[in-house]
């Protein structure tokens, strides 16, 4: 029964992705739009706001975006969706195009996804601002900034979708992307499932 339902869900997801591609992919280039960016916007949304499993790129730090494209290419970013979608997608990307794409998406104005649980947001906000010192969980704000805006190659988190944030925090704790030599696997591993739900909820509302 569950298996059948999973199959149906899989089909529905696939169908919506194909629908999204056929709806959004066509049309003339808008001012400032890059032609190779069409390959990205098929999944990440025409204005880079993210779509289903594909995270928002609009307004993201361009050094972060560039570094992710490189990390997909050298396979250090190894979480399942990255392996499934992004490794092949960047296989023939030149360093210059990676830089151009990163810059292009960083200039698009972001919208907050707002898909988290509003009731949990205050708990998440407290964790973001101060960590949970009693549990030795560090404050997110010291690296990601007081307004979750990110800096350099440290990503903007404010307004990303709840589903994406939750999945990434889960996967950091599971050991994915650990080859990047970042502190995140150590930090996320100390978060409980309810801490992650609260954090992801709060961040999804941040503008």
């Amino acid at each position: 029964m569950t298996n059948a339902r999973a199959q149906i869900m899989k089909f529905v997801k696939l169908a919506s992705i194909i629908l999204a591609i056929s709806v959004f992919a066509g049309g003339q280039l808008r001012a400032g739009e890059l032609l190779p960016a069409r390959n990205c916007t098929w999944c990440h949304g025409t204005s880079g706001q993210g779509y289903m499993t594909a995270p928002r790129l609009a307004g993201q730090r361009y050094e972060y975006l560039e570094k992710q494209l490189l990390d997909f290419g050298n396979h250090t970013r190894d979480n399942p969706f990255s392996v499934q979608y992004m490794w092949d997608a960047v296989a023939y990307l030149s360093p210059q195009t990676a830089r151009d794409l990163a810059f292009y998406f960083s200039t698009l104005p972001p919208k907050a996804a707002g898909d988290g649980n509003w009731d949990l947001a205050p708990i998440g906000q407290a964790i973001y601002a101060e960590g949970i010192p009693e549990q030795n969980v560090v404050a997110c704000a010291v690296c990601h900034g007081p307004d979750a805006e990110g800096v350099r190659d440290i990503p903007r988190l404010g307004g990303l979708s709840y589903t994406y944030l939750k999945r990434r925090l889960d996967q950091w704790g599971e050991g994915f992307h650990s080859a990047a030599q970042l502190p995140m696997p150590f930090i996320a591993g100390k978060l409980s499932p309810s801490d992650i739900e609260a954090l992801a909820s709060h961040l999804s509302f941040v503008r």
């Binding site: 601002a129 009693e134 030795n136 560090v138 404050a139 010291v142 440290i154 502190p183």
Partner: protein, 218 residues
């Protein structure tokens, strides 16, 4: 059956050895009951300050703690607690550090004992100018030689901090905002007060040069 019991025997032996080793290294320096807490707290410090205390460039610059004098580290932790440091930061460091007085000494001692490679980061072309100021001061601006107190190799001593290997953005910020972030006096004598006129008399370019020199110093 036999292979299972051998495996069990090996596992038990390894586990016991590991337990004894862990206990032996902990028990020597601190109370066994607090050992695990202190180790977890040190790892917590390292989540931001680097897993060898080498420092980290986040939104804030987390300073290098490795090789720092334990007296200085303990003094700073107390200064955060008493609201004498970085009061205008968007985050309450005393709350975030969350250290009990009993933990301070152990944490400070651990970081003093570390010696990873320096992160560097300051522009090397400024280092020569920085070295000159470090060793000779800026006589016309009434700035004494840094080496007079911090030592010829910038290793510090006691309450005078080690500066060698410090991240340049941290040194720049510290010297640029001295009065605001470190100017609050403790009860009694404030050993850091001597730095206020020095920081005030340095120009931004001179500060950048000193920071670049120190960031590349091993």
């Amino acid at each position: 059956m036999r292979s299972i019991s051998i495996r069990l025997l090996v596992q038990t032996t390894v586990f016991t050895a590991a337990l004894l080793a862990a206990h032996g290294s902990d028990g020597a320096s601190r109370a066994p009951a607090a050992g695990g807490d202190v180790q977890a707290k040190i790892e917590y410090c390292m989540d931001c300050h680097g897993h060898q205390g080498q420092g980290y460039h986040g939104f804030l610059t987390m300073p290098r703690l490795a090789g720092q004098t334990s007296t200085y580290l303990e003094n700073q932790l107390r200064a955060f607690l008493e609201g004498r440091r970085d009061r205008n930061l968007f985050i309450n460091m005393a709350r975030v550090h969350g250290l009990s007085p009993a933990m301070r000494a152990a944490v400070a001692a651990r970081f003093q004992g570390l010696n990873p490679p320096v992160l560097g980061g300051g522009p090397r072309n400024l280092a020569a100018a920085g070295a000159k100021i470090y060793e000779e001061g800026v006589p016309e601006a009434n700035v004494p030689a840094c080496s007079a107190c911090h030592g010829p190799a910038a290793t510090g001593q006691g309450e005078i901090p080690r500066l060698a290997g410090q991240l340049s953005s941290y040194t720049v910020r510290t010297l640029s905002t001295w009065n605001r972030d470190r100017g609050a006096a403790a009860e009694g004598e404030n050993p850091a007060a001597v730095m206020a006129p020095i920081a005030h008399n340095l120009t931004p370019n001179q500060i950048a040069a000193i920071a670049a020199y120190l960031s590349n110093l091993r």
